[in-house]
Amino acid sequence: MVASKEPSVLLSHLHRADGSATFSQNGYTVIGAVNGPIEVPRRHELPEEAVIEVLVRPAAGVGGTRERHLESILHSTLRQIILVHNFPRHLIQVTLQITNTPENKNTGSKVVQAGSHLAILPALLQTAVLALLSASMPLATILTSVSIAIHADGKSRKLITHPSLKEFESASSVHIMAFTSHGEPLVVESQGTFTLEDWEEVFETVKALCHAEHNRIDDNAMQGVDGKGNMLEFVKSAMGEKVAQDLHWHT
C-alpha cells in the first residue's frame, strides 16, 4: 500500500481531552491530546511559567530512549511556541500516541530501525500543534514541519520532500526542519553526510514549503513549488473548516 504524502487531520474527536487531533501523513498516523492548563504536582512546579509535559507513546511496546529523545525535541520546540509565561504554576500535557507507522517487510514485528526514528518527527510536531490549536491554547505562532531526504550520487543530487520510509533509509542525508508561520526556523535536525550547499538548498526548499505566505506566486514560480504541498495552508484550511463546522448554527 502506497502511503499518501498529502496530510490529513481530524480535530477534537476525543471527548475528555481539552484538545485532540489525529494527523496522518506519509503512512504515519499520530493521535495527539492536549490537557491544560491544569494543576501541576508541587515538585515539578515552575514559579514563572507553565510546565510542558510531552509524552510520546509507540504503537507497540513501551517507550525507550528513542521516544525520550523525540520528547526532548518536542518539549524544547513547544516551549518556544506556547505562551508559557501566561500560565505560571500550571501544567500543559501533550500526549502523542503513534498508531500507525509505514509498513515494513517484517509484518507485525516491532518496528525497530536504528537511526530512523527521526522520520516520525514531522508528524509528531504537526500533531502537537494541531492538538494545541484544538485546545485553544494561546500560542505565539504555529509551526509547520517537513522532512527532506537527499539522494546524492556522485555529483548529482536529488531532493525528496516527505520521503517514504524506504527513501528515508537509503538517503545519504535526511533533514527535518520546522518553521514558524513568520518563516523563522525552529527545529533543524540533520542526519548523514552532506555539504553546506546541500543544507542551504534544503533550508530554502523547506522554508518555501512551510511558509510561502507573501509573494507566494513569485516564490513558487521561482522554485517550482506548487501551493498544494504547503503545510501552512493545510493547517489554516483544516482549522478554517473546523471553525466553520463549529459555527454552522451562526449562518
Binding site: M1, L14, H15, R16, A17, S20, I31, A33, N35, G36, I38, E39, P41, E53, L55, R57, A59, A60, G61, V62, Q93, T95, Q97, T99, N100, E103, K105, N106, T107, G108, S109, K110
Partner: protein, 297 residues
C-alpha cells in the same frame, strides 16, 4: 496531578431519582448497549473499537524469542494496558491506577488463562525459539465500560493479526517476509468476550438491586458493585469477577449470565462480519485463496 472529579450530590440524586423512574441519563433501556463500532487498520493486527464515546485501539505485534525454561513448548502472550493522560489528565504515566490494574487483571484472566490463544502453536523449536505475541491496548477515550470494549478490541485484533510464515530445518528457523510468503493467522481456540453489569441498590423496593448494562463513566462512578462475566458464544463460562460490596440475588445473577451469553453471541457475529468485510477489501482480484500458505484442515 488533579484528582478525578467525583459526581456531585446533585448528580447523584438526579441519577437515583431517574433510576427509580426506570430511566437512564442517556435514555437507554437498562439492558441496552451503546453503538459498537469496529474498524481495522491497514496493517494486520490493528483494531479500533468504539463503544459510545469509549475508544480503544489495540495493536498486536509478534517477534521470535526464547521461551521460559519451565514452559519450553509454550509461546508467550502478553497484554499491556496503560491509561495515559490522553484518557484523563489525572492518570499519571509512571504509576498504574486502580482501574488500570483491574482492567489488565481481568483481561489476563479472560484471555490468557482461558487459553483463547493457543500458546503451544506459537512454539517454533522447543526450548529455543517461540513466538512472543504482544497486545498493546491503547485507551484513547474513556466513557465507561473499558473492560468490555478492550476485550472486544483485543479479540478482534488477534483474529485480524497475521504472523509471518516460518519454516524450520533442524535448529534453523526462517521467517519469511510479506513478499515471500503470505502470513498466517494465529490459532485461536475460542473467543471469550466480557460483559459487565453494574449494580445499584433499588430505592423503590428494599433489598432489590437495579442492574445496568454497558454503563457510562458517570454510572460507573455511582455504582455500588459490578460483575464482569467472561463467556464464549458456546456458553462456556471463562471467568466471573464480582466487585463491590452490594449483595446480588443468586437467581438475578444467573439471569445476568444468560443476558451475557445472548450479548456475546451478538458481538461474535458482529466481529466476524466486520472481519469478513475487511478480508474482502484486502482480497484484490480474488488471489487470496491461491496465495494462502496455510492448509485447509
Amino acid at each position: 496531578m488533579p484528582r478525578e472529579v467525583e459526581p456531585s450530590v446533585n448528580e447523584r440524586q438526579f441519577f437515583e431519582k431517574a433510576l427509580a423512574e426506570n430511566l437512564r441519563l442517556d435514555g437507554r433501556a437498562f439492558d441496552q448497549f451503546r453503538d459498537l463500532e469496529l474498524s481495522f487498520g491497514d496493517e494486520f493486527g490493528v483494531a479500533d473499537v468504539r463503544l459510545g464515546k469509549t475508544r480503544i485501539h489495540t495493536n498486536i505485534s509478534a517477534e521470535v524469542t526464547t521461551p521460559y525454561p519451565d514452559k519450553p513448548f509454550d509461546g508467550l502472550f502478553t497484554i499491556t494496558t496503560e491509561l495515559s493522560p490522553m484518557t484523563s489528565p489525572h492518570y499519571e504515566t509512571s504509576r498504574p491506577s486502580d482501574p488500570e490494574i483491574l482492567l489488565s487483571r481481568i483481561l489476563e484472566k479472560n484471555l490468557r488463562r482461558s487459553q483463547a490463544l493457543d500458546t503451544e502453536s506459537l512454539c517454533l523449536i522447543a526450548g529455543h525459539k517461540v513466538w512472543s505475541v504482544r497486545a498493546d491496548v491503547h485507551i484513547l477515550s474513556h466513557d465507561g465500560n473499558l473492560i468490555d470494549a478492550s476485550c472486544i478490541s483485543v479479540l478482534a485484533a488477534l483474529q485480524h493479526f497475521r504472523k509471518p510464515d516460518t519454516s524450520s530445518e533442524g535448529e534453523n528457523v526462517t521467517v519469511y517476509t510479506l513478499e515471500e510468503r503470505d502470513p498466517v493467522p494465529l490459532s485461536l481456540l475460542h473467543f471469550p468476550y466480557c460483559v459487565t453489569f453494574s449494580f445499584y441498590p433499588s430505592t423503590v423496593e428494599e433489598g432489590e438491586t437495579v442492574i445496568l448494562l454497558d454503563s457510562t463513566l458517570l454510572e460507573e462512578q455511582l455504582r455500588e458493585g459490578s460483575a464482569t462475566i467472561g463467556i464464549n458464544k458456546d456458553g462456556e463460562l471463562c471467568q466471573i469477577a464480582k466487585l463491590g460490596g452490594i449483595s446480588v440475588d443468586a437467581v438475578a445473577f444467573l439471569g445476568c449470565v444468560q443476558v451475557a451469553l445472548a450479548r456475546v453471541k451478538e458481538i461474535s457475529t458482529f466481529v466476524i462480519k466486520r472481519l469478513a468485510e475487511d478480508a474482502k477489501k484486502r482480497d484484490k482480484g480474488d488471489l487470496m485463496a491461491e496465495l494462502r500458505a496455510e492448509n485447509d484442515r
